[in-house]
């Protein structure tokens, strides 16, 4: 019969009760210590190799993104007295948010929620007559995202509401939210490879525009003013369409106020896979 000895070292007895094939309390402590040291060495080693510790705020060496979300990188593009703007946005992967509200005298203000240099977009701007052109381009990351510092990509772009703009947005993969209510659009082009796209024009009241929206895989939500003169042409692969409050003729969905003899908003939607929701506001 097994002798019942009083258990003084409760941790050792607890481990003994667990009956881990020969593991004792001491061995567990040694294993934990070894795992801890190895993990820290590898983790901080990766940071050191990828320049993660020195690539952030000077004097601070932590593995965390201290302040990068709180103090993002902001770039303002001046309008330079132009009477119109043309903005092209090309983003590989990430999250894009666009709305009105650029500071006075600027065409756009771009906020990138990463301070890592390799995640900053390239800016190309030119003034052609009275049109200020701006291209914001994601330089690409050549598949090194996993070992790169500050890998997530998020842009928040504010566009001027002082002059009419042509807007072209190309997003490889990710979610985009375009709040265009306050802008004066001349033309809109949106292309999203994969991800959810939301385009809010529900309170748009400026001059009529044409829009070309291509969405590969993902849901598309577009809001238009109920009282506007708008016609939407939809070409959809796989998915449902929800277009309450609109009048349908073949692939065309129109508001009740749509009049083909008057200037109207013309929107073309090409959707691959995913649901389309057209909301009238």
């Amino acid at each position: 019969m097994k002798e019942n000895k009083p258990c003084d070292d409760r941790f050792a007895c607890f481990v003994q009760k667990l009956n881990f094939s020969g593991l004792t309390g001491t061995k567990i402590i040694f294993w934990l210590a070894a795992i801890m040291i190895a993990s820290f060495v590898i983790g901080f080693g990766i940071l050191a190799v990828t320049d993660g510790l020195s690539g952030t705020s000077p004097g601070k060496s932590t593995p965390f993104r201290h302040g990068s979300m709180l103090s993002p990188n902001i770039t303002a593009i001046p309008l330079d007295g132009a009477a119109a703007g043309r903005i092209g946005i090309t983003m590989g992967a990430g999250e894009l948010s666009l709305s009105e509200g650029a500071p006075a005298g600027t065409l756009a203000e771009v906020t990138v929620f990463s301070r890592a240099p390799e995640w900053q977009p390239e800016y190309s701007q030119s003034l052609n007559g009275t049109i200020k052109a701006l291209a914001i381009t994601d330089p690409g990351h050549r598949g090194k995202e996993w070992f790169s510092v500050d890998s997530p990509n998020r842009w928040d772009i504010r566009v001027t509401d002082q002059v009419p703009v042509e807007l072209s947005v190309a997003l490889g993969a990710g979610d985009s939210t375009l709040d265009l209510n306050g802008l004066t659009l001349k033309r809109l082009s949106v292309s999203n490879g994969a991800g959810e796209t939301t385009i809010d024009l529900g309170r748009y009241s400026k001059s009529p525009f044409t829009a070309d929206i291509h969405n590969g895989i993902g849901d598309l939500t577009i809001r238009i003013p109920r009282t506007s003169s708008t016609r939407i042409s939809v070409h959809q692969g796989v998915g449902d369409i929800d277009a309450k409050g609109l009048v349908q003729h073949d692939e065309y969905y129109s508001t009740n106020s749509y009049n083909p003899s008057l200037p109207a908003n013309e929107i073309l939607i090409n959707q691959g896979v995913g649901d389309i929701s057209i909301e009238t506001v």
Binding site: R10, I29, I35, M36, S39, G45, I46, V149, P152
Partner: protein
């Protein structure tokens, strides 16, 4: 108050009832009764013997303290050491400084270390999940400068937390034993026996 053997025994029994087991109490009472009997045989009065022994209240406090310290020594538990410390406090007001203050500081220190260990042990797995989500490209969970490094560092944080908890347990055991020795020494100094057993 009558200073006779019966009164002495009554007070002693009354103060120790509920703390000591019946047979232990009977043993102690019979020891003092024997002391009175032997004293009276040698011609000393009850009052003389009472004065020689000291107050039965003080004697009961000392016996109670020593009993609870020994109990805490044989059965290790938070409750037992707490009762032993409280009983020792009753031996003198200065023990508020020499026993209670160090005891509270030790308890607070052990609790802080334990909470630190628990915090690391909880934050580690959470940070690991954040690393995975960051690798998946979710900006909302991007707390790491480098998510792959984050995976390893979060494992390190978790194991560090577990080690702190285990270390705190052994630290508590060490201070428990040291505390028992200190309480025994303290009681010995107060009762004048020095080597209280």
């Amino acid at each position: 108050m009558l200073m006779n053997e019966q009164e002495f025994i009554r007070i002693l029994r009354n103060r120790l009832e509920g703390t000591l087991a019946r047979d232990e109490l009977d043993d102690i009472v019979s020891d003092y009764a024997e002391h009175f009997r032997a004293g009276k045989e040698s011609g000393r009065s009850d009052e003389e013997l009472w004065r020689a022994l000291g107050s039965p209240d003080d004697i009961a406090r000392e016996i109670r303290a020593m009993h609870l310290v020994k109990k805490a020594e044989s059965v290790k538990s938070c409750g037992n050491i707490f009762h032993a410390v409280l009983a020792t406090l009753g031996l003198g007001l200065f023990n508020l400084v020499f026993v209670l203050v160090p005891f509270i500081l030790l308890v607070v220190m052990l609790l802080v270390i334990f909470m630190l260990g628990v915090a690391f042990a909880v934050i580690g797995p959470a940070a690991f999940v954040f690393s995975v989500l960051q690798l998946a490209g979710s900006p909302a969970f991007a707390i790491w400068l480098n998510p792959v490094a984050g995976l390893f560092i979060s494992i390190g944080i978790t194991t560090l937390g577990l080690l702190i908890i285990i270390g705190d347990y052994y630290l508590a055991r060490f201070f428990y034993r040291a505390g028992i020795r200190y309480l025994k020494w303290n009681i010995g100094v107060i009762t004048g026996t020095e080597e209280a057993e």
